[in-house]
Amino acid sequence: MTELTLAKALGSGLRRALSDDDKVVLLGEDIGTLGGVFRVTDGLQRDFGKDRVIDTPLAEAGIIGMAVGLAFRGYRPVCEIQFDGFIYPGFDQIVAQVAKLHYRTGGNVRMPLTIRVPYGGGIGAVEHHSESPEAYFAHTAGLRVVTCSTPQDAHSMLREAIASDDPVLFFEPKRRYWTKGEVDEDATGLPMGKARVVTEGTDVTLVTYGPLVATALDAAVAAADDGISIEVIDLRSLSPVDFDTVSASVQKTGRLVITHEASESGGLGAEIAATLTDRCFYYLEAAPVRITGFDVPYPAAKLEDHFLPDLDRILDGVDRALGRVNSLTGWSA
């Protein structure tokens, strides 16, 4: 066991993947000499060479499209998209090619790509550097979409994503890059498709993923002071979603709150609310509640605290699920 930041845990995951399989190659902007703008790939080009850790021209469609060609040739490319909002120039290659080639070719061509995307807000950045575009990809057949919240998960899920024969969108919660935790490189933990019950509770199921897992845990601690017992679930995988784990929890608590940074409409929260309503209709004591970013473009840094779900907004959602006084009832109710 070593204590590592989440960013370093990702780097050690990449290092192990490069060592274990010589078909693994890394592609991205500034990932070589610089080690990536977040230093996730620090030292990897020095140790594995320029043919394994490739600084590419500045073009996201080019990065993904080149990775497709390398996959045709038997390689297992890991692409870094520098920031969430920069993925759109590569969107066509991801959605029209990466996601569909295995299906299109009747299984003859595999696309074992991993596309790493630092995502989410909370770092006071400018436009295009704080977005949460995961729903576009979870909506796309042929892709797997995962996100980590701890250094251990960052390390083991990334290695599992790279080893997967399916394409994986790997979303990294950039404001948690500096979170520290113990990492066991040989741990055989949960498979990446499985959700994790972070803390058990009996009154409300609080479902989240990525950067908001830590916030949800804070909310659970704060709610405990009020005598409310929250069960926090870290989804880890957004496609597929481990509905069995969420259903089991909701059947126990009868109440469901979902929180994510991404905008509300058409988001993962809607999918989870719909599916859980379907699966747990007779267990639910209240309608599922979504606490999310608003349906606005990601705002200026000085406004992001009003966009991002925080501890208090999550607790307000918990109150809604419990039928307690909340912002919708009016505070004097």
């Binding site: 497709v68 038997g74 070719t105 061509v109 979603v241």
Partner: protein, 372 residues
């Protein structure tokens, strides 16, 4: 020798293209000499040229048969290649089995040269499968329908070849319309930066559905590549011999560490974009007539006859062979079976996806309800 661009200039200020290009067989079948490119085909014998002639006849015959199948309701759609036979055959016949092709959807003659099984050409167009063949069996990816996307795949594949230390080459086929796409331009940047052994083979057939090449390019398309650091060749795409020479020179450069080459094969799409298209709305019949006179097959036939290689007897036997292929192609097409309903769920993922598995089992139960 000059080619003609569509007379209807799309916008004011569009410059007329007055290209020079490599030509070894002129439209009358006269063999021209070219100091630079003659050596690349100096080994091509009359018999070999006759074999290329047979290819040209057969791929045109397949194309005609496919259009007939579409008109008879057996195919949903077909993209005819009439006029582009030499560009495709001349390039594809120079490749080795270990080279790899990434094409668009009109490269049916390329697929034929790569050894595709005939019915595989129409699985997509008959709607029985999402693509026609196993790419690794014939060294050719199934066509990309998103215009230009495959040029990046070819570049990545080529970079992989250099990593593997082999001298295989990848070839990206695309059209004049694709050169406006970002992907194609990014592919050229990447190919140049990584010195990738890739050939960008652009069939400038003058049309992107109804849009003339003048809307995509104000200069000859081949002029763009040097700006990316990629040498380019402009070749008469209706001259099978010249196309072969140009492709061989590009292959040689790629195999010996010289990196990418851009080939613009100047040709003309004499048919519709697809069987759903109506070119009478946008094609000037006078220009179309001019291109008929530059037919890629007629000139080879004239040359072979002047050389005494092609006799009436041989021509008749080649035509008979083409008719046999067409009959086999038609029979294979009609024998294609409709896919099983539940195969709609197959191969979305290489390993099971629990969400999709649930949909599959629910739809299975739904379908079973009809049997009760």
């Amino acid at each position: 020798m000059s080619t003609t661009v569509p007379v209807k200039a799309p916008m004011s200020g569009a410059k007329k293209q007055t290209p020079e290009f490599v030509q070894l067989l002129d439209p009358d079948g006269k063999r021209l000499s070219d100091e630079l490119y003659d050596p690349w085909v100096s080994d091509v014998t009359g018999d070999q040229l006759a074999s290329l002639y047979e290819d040209l006849i057969i791929v045109r015959r397949i194309d005609t048969e496919a259009t007939a199948l579409q008109r008879q309701g057996e195919l949903g759609l077909w993209p005819p290649l009439l006029g582009q036979e030499a560009a495709q055959v001349g390039s594809a016949r120079t490749l080795r089995p270990d080279d790899f092709v990434f094409s668009s959807y009109r490269e049916n003659a390329v697929a034929y040269c790569r050894g595709v099984k005939l019915p595989d050409l129409v699985r997509v167009w008959r709607g029985t499968a999402a693509s026609g063949w196993d790419p690794f069996e014939i060294g050719m990816a199934t066509p990309a329908v998103i215009i230009g996307a495959q040029t990046l795949h070819a570049t990545g594949y080529a970079v992989g070849c250099t990593f593997d230390g082999v001298d295989s080459v990848s070839v990206a086929y695309f059209g004049d319309g694709a050169t406006s796409e970002g992907d194609v331009n990014e592919a050229m940047v990447f190919a140049a930066s990584f010195n990738a052994p890739v050939i960008f083979f652009c069939q400038n057939n003058q049309w992107a559905i109804s849009e003339p090449v003048g809307l995509q390019a104000q200069r000859p398309i081949a002029d763009r590549a040097p700006g990316f650091g990629i040498p380019s060749i402009r070749v008469d795409g209706n001259d099978v011999l010249a196309v072969m020479a140009a492709t061989r020179s590009a292959l040689d450069r790629a195999r010996t560490g010289g990196g990418p080459t851009f080939i613009e094969a100047v040709t003309y799409r004499r048919g519709p974009h697809t069987t759903s298209d109506d070119p009478s709305r946008y094609v000037d019949p006078v220009v179309a007539k001019e291109w008929e006179a530059k037919d890629p097959i007629a000139r080879v036939e004239a040359f072979l006859r002047s050389e005494g290689v092609l006799t009436d007897e041989l021509a008749a036997s080649i035509q008979a062979r083409a008719d046999e292929v067409a009959a086999e192609f038609r029979a294979g097409c009609l024998a294609l079976k409709n896919p099983e309903p539940l195969s709609v769920f197959d191969n979305v993922y290489a390993t099971e996806h629990s969400g999709l598995a649930r949909q599959r089992s629910q739809y299975t139960a739904y379908l079973e309800g009809f049997d009760k």
